[in-house]
Amino acid sequence: MSIGGDGPSEKALQEFLSEAQEIVEQFNRDLLQLDEQRAAGSFDPEVINDAFRAVHSLKGLSGLFGVTRMSNLSHNLENLLDSLRLGRVELQPATLDLLFEAVALFNRIVAETAAGQSGDDGANLVEDLIARLDRVALRKEASPEASPWGGWELDASLLSVLTEYEEHRLRENIKNGRSLYRIHAAFDLMTIDKGLDELKGRLKPVGEVITYLPSAEAASDQQIELDVILGAQAELRAVQEAVVGTGAVVALLPRDKGAAGAVARPAPTVVPESKSEAQAAKKAEAPRRKSDGDDEELTLKSVAQTVRVDIRKLDNLMNIVGELGIARAGLIQILDRIKADRTQAKLARELHHELRSLSRRLDELQAGILEVRMVPLGQVFDKLSRVVRKISRDAGKEIRLSIAGADTELDKLIVEELSDPLMHVMRNCIDHGIEGPEVRRAAGKPEAGTISIRAEQRGNHVVIEIEDDGQGLDEQKLVRKAVERGLVGAHEAREMSRRDVQNLMFLPGVSTKDVADHMSGRGVGMDVVKTNIARLSGIIDVESEAGQGTRLTLTLPITLAIIQALIIRAAGRTFAVPLNSVLESLRVTQNDVRTIERREVMSLRGQTLPLARLEKLFRLERADLEGVPHKQFVVVVGLAQHRIGLLVDELHGQEDIVIKSLGRALSDVPGIAGATELGGKKTVLVLDVAQIVEEAVSSGGAEAA
């Protein structure tokens, strides 16, 4: 299975697998883009070239590491992509399906290779897919039309030097009714690479560079003159404007007038602009290869200037930074002691100065490590697009997925943990939200349903909104189900606000669809989604309008690794409350606290704020005899619209803390997100505000658990 007998080292193999994973993800993005463009009518040939290059590198790499299944698959995939590139095969939905299948299979091979499995059944799948790929790749399409050049008078000398790919692109441009231009430019011998790149860069927005050829005209010794052939929808003037200042001369190629109108039909044009920034970045980084990918040599140098790091190593660094923070707190205490001694004023000043610069560096270090952990949400969104494509096909519904804010960044761990819940949300939207095509037509909606995902950063949080234009929630049915299952009382149900009714969808066992079909019958409901989001200290909310659609809003913290926390004391215990969920804190006396239906509340700026006491929530005994002090503090906490006030005895200021897990045995204790070490070897529990708010709201304040 490998080169040289004893095989690549474990580390090298891991490196290879993660690189392969990245390439497959890139390939997947290319395919998604193609799919989108195909639906819009015309696609950017560069994207097929990108896909081709991705598979090409995959082939080379996997061959090097002896992962035969992967190299065989890439080899055959490459053939198919080559045929697509050259226009021998047309890009049809079925072909794209095959390509997406290959993505899934690649992922499987990566996973199996990582787990050290040879994956025998996987091998059969590879064989099977290869056979089908080949069938498509070798399919003969209709022969090109008799008069291929659409009336354009093209030099025989030009045609004779075009590669098959270039010729295909030329035909495509003509077919799409674009005009052909010849751009004559002279370049200095020394700087031709840069000059040509610049020219191509300027031409890219107006059209497609089909080829460039050395000019027939005589050139001086120091110069090379090139003719660029450009296919563009744009008028001559626009092309001229694009190259203004480069000294290039633009001319429309001569054309036989009679034939012009006959072939040139206005085709729907997609201006091929790179959709995602990631794509653009990759393009900019990758050394520009000649788009003709026939050269077999594969560069061994990595393309990207990046290092892949095990996230645990970052966790470890984060821990160390946390410990340094504790050491800093200790030093500050020592400084205070020295300050108290008048005779040591000079020493105190110096120490103060040094400490300040240490603090600043430490903060930078912390911010730096946090930044390294951040990855764009696009990583999950790309996976989602693939899933949506598959589910919608299976469900026989046409879905348009629109994504905004894919470059919003979140902690890697959160992004990883998000993919499953988001996938279930998508499934739910397609299965339950968006109606079948007939129903939609009858309702006067476009046949294709739309799911839009928007992500954006708001302060310390990232908000992800998922909206569909489906039928909305059936509120009556939700209530009926919830009452049937005894989740809410009949009386209670009548008094519920609309928001509360809609939020019933997150209760276990409440589903609006009576018959579990093969997809939603997988036993994963919105309650699991909610639990998973809550585990990430996030909150999920629903808003729905009958007949118009449903919107889910996920609010998540940017990172779980290091956070600012408010240190509080209640019933003789110390707790840390993540500051990102603290809205304000205020001092109250017992007189401010009122009781409504046995729930403690207070009014805050004219609004009623439900209160919760940690000692009741957690059943803590008060050790001190005097009991609840008369003066207390209320820490108003909340995420999204839910807010409650935590009644606590003391506030102890803010600290930067590293949240650590309590270990597997205690990982699921409700209301506790983890623990952290404060100065003096003291371990303090960190509250899981989302869960506490949830509990307090759902169970009516104090008497939870």
């Binding site: 946390g322 270990g663 045995a665 205690l666 204790v669 409700p670 623990a675 529990l685």
Partner: protein
């Protein structure tokens, strides 16, 4: 001619195995309640003095809370409550044994650490069937070893059983 036999990998490994079974197992013995228990020394990471334990709400009673040792947070199990023994007040000799179990650290609160004893396999008996059913699952065997003219007994604990609890299920609504 003398028969020279080379050690093959196989025979080497077999000999190594034999040596290991003949070798005595190191057991850390300690007092909990009024009994002497033992845990395989290999699963013990360190022994620390008693320190402040942060109570975790909604956890079972035997789970005293969590401590941080060298930057790692770990749950602490009061072995005396876990084994349903008498709990004498904690004193100067009380210790927390930090054990590694299935890749995670736990603290075990015990009354006193006695030392390491070594047993050959044939010195370890299976647990007697007469034991109370509540205690039986925690026991891995009984080790006897001579100590001067007396014979001492150590009850070997099964860490698997002692640390096999699912708090989540117990406290979830």
């Amino acid at each position: 001619m003398k028969d020279i036999s080379f050690t093959t990998e196989e025979t080497y490994l077999r000999r190594h195995d034999e040596r290991r079974t003949r070798e005595r197992r190191g057991i850390l013995s300690f007092a909990a309640g009024n009994e002497v228990y033992g845990i395989e020394i290999l699963s013990i990471r360190e022994i620390i003095k008693l320190r402040e334990i942060t109570e975790v709400p909604r956890a079972p009673r035997f789970l005293l809370g969590v401590v941080t040792v060298r930057g790692l947070v770990m749950p602490v199990v009061d072995l005396r409550i876990r084994l349903r023994l008498d709990s004498p007040p904690l004193g100067r000799n009380s210790r927390i044994l930090v054990v590694m179990h299935k890749g995670e650290r736990f603290g075990l609160l015990v009354d006193d650490v006695r030392g390491v004893v070594r047993f050959a396999d044939n010195q370890i008996e299976p647990p007697p069937p007469s034991l109370a059913p509540s205690e039986a699952p925690f026991l891995a065997g009984i080790g006897r070893h001579p100590d001067g003219d007396k014979e001492r007994m150590v009850i070997l604990l099964s860490l698997d059983a002692v640390l096999d609890f699912a708090v989540a299920a117990a406290v979830r609504r």
